[in-house]
């Protein structure tokens, strides 16, 4: 128990320290790979033990500098610890995959430090209990992901000019959204005089109770919805995603689509369900409407795409709509569904993106129309891609089936018939575009016969196979035995709707 106490800060500090240390070993490629895989495996084990500890012993609060609620707190509750486990799993797999996928030059020079910083940023966002600290980790995440997008991998057919253009869009829009977040934080601080999220929640609840809640609290809540909606690619703010995500190399694409867009969902779950209870009555209909538009726009855009990576990026837009639909409905069951959907989509989508990177390398093109019959030369990739597509489309026996089942069940239980109807129609779209893609890539005639010899040499290496197979096992496991995930998610949903334990754990601290 005593050694467990420091795990939250280690989860943030260890990757930051290694971001600096790996720069020193840039000439020793093998050592660096082994070191980083070791670090990320360690992070995964630690985050898992943290989740178990939080599950058994309640919320763990770590005071950085022992200043109580006035200093920066790291709070590991079930939501935060669960998200850290998810991000550690995906980043471990992406790291194992990347050691063989990335170009040697990119790998030696900048990949490892930036990837470590990205992991630190993600863990920091999920564990911090301070809203300004969250802003700082957002910046760490954005800048490190910008540096990672320019790197090149072996299946990467994006030109450098396109990558720079994508990053320019991504960074400018991120800066604007982050300035908006800072304005919201400043207004919040000027209103309640604290930055600790639990403390803000107590004070705003008190203001609402006495009927003196200032009207601009609602405005702040909307501004933060815009910020997190931008991160999560909610409808009017989704346009950057289809440019930026496909420009990244496959492991980074998996991290961006798997975890980084989930940060927005986490922000809404954490900040809005904890602090802005009073504003949710008007934000929930907006969230439901926008998430339905997101589902529609993402799915219809994906149907018309022939660029494999762009198709999957639009699919991500559509799928994040389903998660936010659950978040918007806001009942305990719907939040459970949103969490289950989030976890399933994160794992299945990152697996699909990792498989896509290898497929593009194998095929030598990113146009679906030029591929065909790859099942003969790459049977392993075809199976992995099929499992991913089945999970995203929601077919048993994969985890995506239960995600969709629980979400639609929750929606029908809460009597949101029309939104669930729309979501169902576009779930069929998902099924259509993913299986059309799978069929045209892996079945049918072998196109470009002259390149067939090249196919034999471009095969996945053992590290890539291991990471893909492990992720596929997780996806199948979640489909066959979803009980633990659903129980965990429903506990998280209860904690979100009743944040008293969180507030009590944070505020009952002795100040030095």
């Amino acid at each position: 128990m005593d050694s467990m106490q420091h795990v939250p800060i280690i989860l943030v500090a260890l990757p930051m320290v290694f971001a600096a240390i790996t720069v020193l070993f840039r000439s020793k490629s093998g050592l660096q790979k082994a070191l980083n895989i070791g670090v990320f495996a360690g992070l995964f084990v630690m985050s898992f033990s943290l989740l178990l500890d939080v599950w058994n012993n309640g919320i763990i609060v770590y005071e950085v500098g022992e200043w109580g609620k006035y200093g920066i707190l790291l709070v590991a509750d079930l939501l935060g610890a669960g998200m850290v486990v998810l991000s550690s799993l995906i980043s471990l797999m992406a790291m194992i995959y990347a050691t063989d996928y990335m170009d040697r030059k990119a790998l030696d020079a900048t990949f490892f430090p930036l990837f470590n910083l990205m992991a630190a940023g993600l863990n920091g966002i999920f564990l911090t209990g301070d809203i300004f600290n969250m802003f700082v980790f957002f910046e760490v995440l954005v800048l490190s992901s910008c540096g990672l997008i320019v790197l090149t991998g072996r299946g990467d057919h994006t030109k450098m000019a396109d990558k720079l253009e994508a990053i320019f869009k991504y960074l400018i829009l991120n800066m604007v959204s982050i300035i908006l977040m800072l304005v919201a934080i400043a207004s919040l601080y000027a209103t309640v005089g604290t930055l600790n999220m639990a403390d803000i929640a107590v004070k705003i609840a008190y203001l609402a109770e006495t009927g003196t809640l200032p009207w601009h609290i609602h405005v702040i809540a909307m501004m933060l919805i815009v910020v997190f909606g931008y991160k999560a690619a909610l409808f009017p703010l989704h346009f950057w995603l289809a440019d930026v995500h496909p420009s990244a190399p496959a492991p980074i694409h998996a991290m961006l689509s798997g975890m980084v867009i989930k940060v927005g969902v986490y922000g809404i779950l954490r900040v809005h369900y904890l602090i802005f209870h009073e504003s949710m009555f008007m934000l929930q209909p907006v969230l439901i409407l926008l998430s339905l538009v997101t589902i529609t726009v993402g799915a219809t855009s994906a149907v018309g795409q022939y660029d494999l990576k762009r198709l999957l990026a639009y699919s991500s837009v559509s799928q994040i709509g389903y998660v936010l639909l659950g978040v918007g409905m806001g009942t305990a069951y719907a939040l459970t569904a949103a969490m289950v959907y989030l976890v399933n989509h994160a794992i299945a989508k990152s697996m699909l993106f990792l498989a896509t990177g290898e497929t593009l390398y194998h095929a030598g093109t990113k146009d679906i129309r030029k591929m065909g019959g790859l099942v003969q030369s790459a049977p392993f990739l075809s199976i992995i891609f099929l499992i991913g597509a089945m999970s995203i489309a929601g077919l048993p026996p994969t985890g995506g089936f239960f995600a969709k089942l629980v979400l639609f069940d929750a929606g029908l239980g809460a009597e949101y018939y029309i939104p669930i109807g729309i979501a169902l129609v576009f779930a069929i779209f998902t099924l259509f575009y993913l299986f059309r893609t799978w069929l045209s890539i892996f079945w049918g005639e072998v196109k470009e016969h002259d390149k067939e010899d090249a196919f034999k040499t471009r095969n996945p290496t053992i590290a890539i196979k291991i990471s893909l197979a492990l992720l596929a096992c997780v996806v199948i496991f979640l489909g066959i035995y979803p009980e633990p995930l659903i129980v965990l998610s429903s506990t998280i949903a209860e904690q979100l709707l009743d944040p008293q334990p969180y507030i009590a754990a944070v505020l009952e601290r002795s100040v030095r």
């Binding site: 300004f132 700082v136 910046e139 800048l143 910008c146 450098m160 000019a161 396109d162 720079l164 253009e165 994508a166 990053i167 320019f168 869009k169 960074l171 400018i172 800066m175 604007v176 300035i179 800072l182 304005v183 400043a186 207004s187 601080y189 000027a190 005089g193 930055l195 346009f239 950057w240 289809a242 440019d243 420009s247």
Partner: protein, 139 residues
Amino acid sequence: MNHTLLSVSIALLFAIGTFMILRKDMIKVVIGLTILSHATNLLIVSAGAFLGWRTPIIINEGTGNSSGIIFTDDLANGILAPIIPEGTEVVFVDPLVQALTLTAIVISLATTAFLLILCYRVYQEHGTTDVSEIRRLKG
């Protein structure tokens, strides 16, 4: 009066910044972002504004309801830094906002540097700084 001036100047900075990030030149967009981030910094500082009577951290004589003897560094009595002597009560400006602003300034420095390098690289690759001509990716 002070308050109004501060609010108006912050609003003006936001307006200028918003205007600038809608320009077509990349460098102007970056300048606009810098102005926006400085407007935000001012907004944060204004959360701990003087209001005409709150004491800033260093002042020789207090006004209003302050005691007048605080925040003086008095070498004769061995006080080196402007610290409130024990037993004095005074309404002072929130110093935390300045710490927040410092953090925000450092972050915006880093991002601005990154953005300028990025603009230069985009210029090298595309041969133009006009945003409307850089659209090979179709959103």
